[in-house]
């Protein structure tokens, strides 16, 4: 087993430092806002589609009565097959977007914290 290099963690109320990488409250707030936008947009789509199923079930007769292929109604086809494709697509695109956001924000965070970090390190010295 190899021993991982020490990250030399420093935590204060205004910044967290792991090795050369620093998170300041300003950079984290930026990350948080972008991440919140992404998560809540996807979350809203998910809940709208999921709750649309029972909403259609209780209100639109053609949704559960009309047979469209063999014994499939729109309701049966959607929740037995199409809903899963929807879930996979949402999870996949969300993961990719969240990863891209992580990478983009990591660069931004490093830039945002660069000046602050210098000040912090200088003040510490």
């Amino acid at each position: 087993m190899t021993t991982p290099p020490s990250s030399e963690v420093t935590i204060t109320s205004t910044y967290i430092q792991h090795g050369d990488h620093i998170d300041t409250i300003e950079s984290v707030d930026l990350v948080f806002k972008e991440q919140r936008k992404l998560s809540f947009t996807y979350g809203a789509i998910f809940f709208i589609v999921t709750l649309a199923v029972p909403a259609l079930t209780v209100s639109v007769e053609g949704w559960w009565r009309t047979q469209i292929w063999g014994g499939f109604t729109w309701n049966y086809l959607f929740i037995s097959l199409i809903y899963y494709v929807f879930l996979w697509t949402m999870a996949w695109t969300y993961s990719k977007k969240a990863d891209a956001l992580d990478d983009r924000l990591a660069e931004v965070a490093d830039k945002v914290t660069e000046d602050v970090a210098e000040e912090i390190l200088e003040a510490g010295a």
């Binding site: 998910f46 047979q67 990591a106 965070a109």
Partner: protein
């Protein structure tokens, strides 16, 4: 019993032997608490996704989903979709921040986020409540499956002479040994194998019914499952289900005529409907003639009622017919919403699932794991309802041909207990070997979920209570010992719960007890943890008092409503109880009320309280900051490593 069960028992024993062997093998790699509880935090996405899927797919999913579709048609399919949708809340809102925050358990998160011991202890109570609610149906499933599979206890061994009790004890002891010995690494490895076994068993069953088929000698045809066509055939006639009437009721000519009419409808797709219905009614006549008392129950077939437009029908005095491909058999309009919300929100509140997110090497890996979980369980939940649909025609054909397995009871070509569908259809379509594979799959589902629950409960006591409060200076060896002792304690508690379920009469109070109990566990998790986690992660203004208020309102409220529902089913609360007691006791799924109530409680109390932790910015940076991940990435530490290394952080 005979050869049929011998092959099944041998396959189950192979699974058990493999499980114990893997745990013993993993033992040498479990030296630290991070190894014992978190498998060293280096489990790769694919492996973790397999383990999470094994953790998640319990007896309710393996036996219950196909059975629910078999009995209820479309509403059973909706039940499966609810299970799958739960992981979306996890991936969007919880997986990545929880992993970034680090730590070991959900109570650790609660303590780290809100900064008080009181918060940690409230979370420990929530973990134990949710886990115990989830252990109950697993142990009940263990006892009932053992009863079907082995069919006997140990003669003259007291309470172990009952096969149900013996099954509960045997399964409990096996899991206790393998979790205590192997810790999270052994459990992870076993859950991976158990998941693939149960997925293989389910998919193989579908392949066999689709391509090999069943030789229906009554109609002289080879039956093969065809999704669209079979769905059409099953939806042509009214949905029929098993029911029970007393001998006294059946002596009423009008009731008897209705039973006869229902039997005629149930016989519609048999080789000779008239002869089939006549033979079944002759069996009912014989049961009436030989009954010991007028109160003796007789199995009959009944037309299934549609609950979808219950209110409208009650007002107008009308009744909707129920068909297989239409909604309304299990859920009325209100429950169509509340059931899916209970499952979707409850998944994100299951401690044994959330604990697994700490085993990911990074937040990104946590998201990838969840995507794969959705793929794995999605395929499982697509296939299970198909097997449930196939069961309608295959079981009926087997009864029609006179070759239905004697291990189950039937009426009018239907299984009396739909939970027996999986082993029954496996036996019909694939013979003894498929029956064995499916039976082992059922045990794999129980083992993997119970193991995750034991680890979650043990970590709540061993890590969150012992290490933090009782002996903060404990050596690594002492910590691991306490973890193992906690596993033993909770395994014995699980065995006791399993033993007590029939003793309280719960098993006869609910027609589908396993599915109902699992939904209760989801409801407790959804009320206790999800509001606290969502607000704690996404709203900086959440205070400790607000979070505790939310957990008490959501978790405590769910437990109270569930017990009221139980008391009503057991007759302690009368069926005519009115007012608030009657209303709450009637709630099958409390989440629709407890979840928003908990969120509102958190917001109101937090606003009134206003006392944020002094280091709230530091906490915020730990949850949403990624300096640690950037550093790990720079040093190549964000990759998964093998399970067989020791000494994780």
């Amino acid at each position: 019993m005979g050869d049929l069960n011998t092959i099944a028992i041998v396959l189950v024993l192979i699974l058990v032997a493999m499980t114990v062997a893997l745990s013993v093998f993993s033992r040498r790699f479990t030296r630290t608490t991070a190894d014992f509880y978190l498998a060293g935090r280096k489990v790769g996405s694919f492996a973790n996704a397999s383990a999470i899927s094994g953790d998640y797919l319990s007896a309710a999913s393996f036996l219950g989903v196909a059975a629910a579709v078999y009995a209820s048609g479309l509403d059973g399919v909706w039940y499966a979709a609810g299970f799958a949708g739960g992981f979306m809340v996890v991936v969007f809102f919880i997986a990545s921040p929880l992993r970034r925050f680090g730590e070991y358990t959900v109570p650790d998160f609660a303590f780290g986020r809100f900064g008080t011991n009181r918060m940690r202890l409230v979370a420990v109570v929530g973990v134990l409540a949710t886990s115990l609610f989830y252990m109950a149906p697993q142990m009940y499933g263990a006892g009932t499956t053992w009863k079907v599979l082995v069919g006997s206890g140990i003669p003259g061994a007291g309470f172990l002479s009952d096969p149900y009790n013996l099954g509960v004890v045997v399964v409990g002891l096996i899991i206790m040994i393998y979790v205590a010995v192997g810790g999270m690494k052994g459990t992870t490895l076993n859950q991976i194998i158990q998941f693939w076994w149960l997925a293989f068993a389910m998919i193989l069953t579908l392949l066999v019914v689709s391509f090999v088929g069943f030789n229906n000698t009554a109609k002289d045809e080879l039956m093969r499952f065809n999704f669209a066509a079979d769905l059409g055939t099953e939806s042509e006639s009214y949905l029929m289900g098993p029911g029970q009437l007393t001998v006294a009721e059946l002596e009423d000519p009008a009731v008897y005529a209705q039973a006869e009419l229902a039997m005629t409808e149930a016989a519609r797709h048999t080789s000779d409907p008239e002869a089939f219905a006549a033979a079944e009614m002759a069996r009912i006549d014989e049961a009436i003639a030989t009954a010991e008392s007028p109160d003796t129950m007789v199995n009959v077939v009944v037309f299934q009622k549609n609950k979808l437009h219950q209110l409208k029908n009650e007002l107008l005095g009308t009744e909707d017919a129920q068909f297989f491909n239409q909604p309304g058999h299990r859920y009325n309009g209100f429950d169509q919403f509340s059931m899916v919300l209970a499952l979707v929100l409850g998944t994100a509140g299951l401690p044994h699932i959330l604990n697994r997110y700490y085993t990911n090497p990074s937040g990104s890996a946590a998201r990838r794991s969840t995507f794969w979980v959705l793929v794995f369980i999605g395929v499982f939940y697509i296939v299970s309802p198909m097997v449930g649909l196939a069961g309608r025609s295959m079981v009926r054909a087997a009864v029609d041909s006179g070759v239905a397995p004697a291990t189950a009871d039937y009426v009018g070509g239907l299984l009396v207990k739909s939970d027996a569908l999986m082993p029954t259809i496996a036996r019909i379509a694939g013979g003894e070997i498929l029956m064995g594979i499916v039976s082992a799959g059922a045990f794999a589902a129980m083992f993997s979920t119970l193991a995750g629950l034991l680890i979650a409960s043990a970590s709540a006591v061993g890590h969150d209570v012992y290490e933090k409060y009782i002996n903060p200076d404990a050596t690594e060896k002492q910590k691991v010992f306490i973890g193992k002792a906690s596993v033993v304690f909770f395994a014995l508690l699980a065995i006791s719960i399993g033993y007590l379920i029939p003793a309280t009469g719960l098993n006869t109070a609910y027609p589908a007890l396993i599915a109902m109990m699992v939904t209760w566990a989801f409801a407790v998790g959804a009320g206790a943890f999800v509001p606290m986690l969502l607000t704690g992660i996404w709203w900086k203004g959440t205070t400790e008092r607000g979070a505790i208020a939310g957990m008490i309102v959501g978790g405590g409220g769910s437990v109270v409503i569930i017990f009221m529902n139980m008391f009503k089913a057991l007759g302690t609360i009368g069926a005519d109880a009115g007012g608030i007691v009657g209303f709450l006791a009637n709630l099958t799924f409390p989440t629709l009320f407890t979840f928003p109530a908990a969120v509102i409680a958190i917001i109101i109390v937090s606003k009134l309280d206003g006392k944020l932790p002094k280091n709230v910015d530091e906490i915020w940076m730990r949850i949403h900051g990624n300096a640690h991940e950037r550093w790990e990435k720079e040093h190549g530490l964000d990759k998964a490593s093998g399970l067989f290394t020791s000494g994780g952080k």
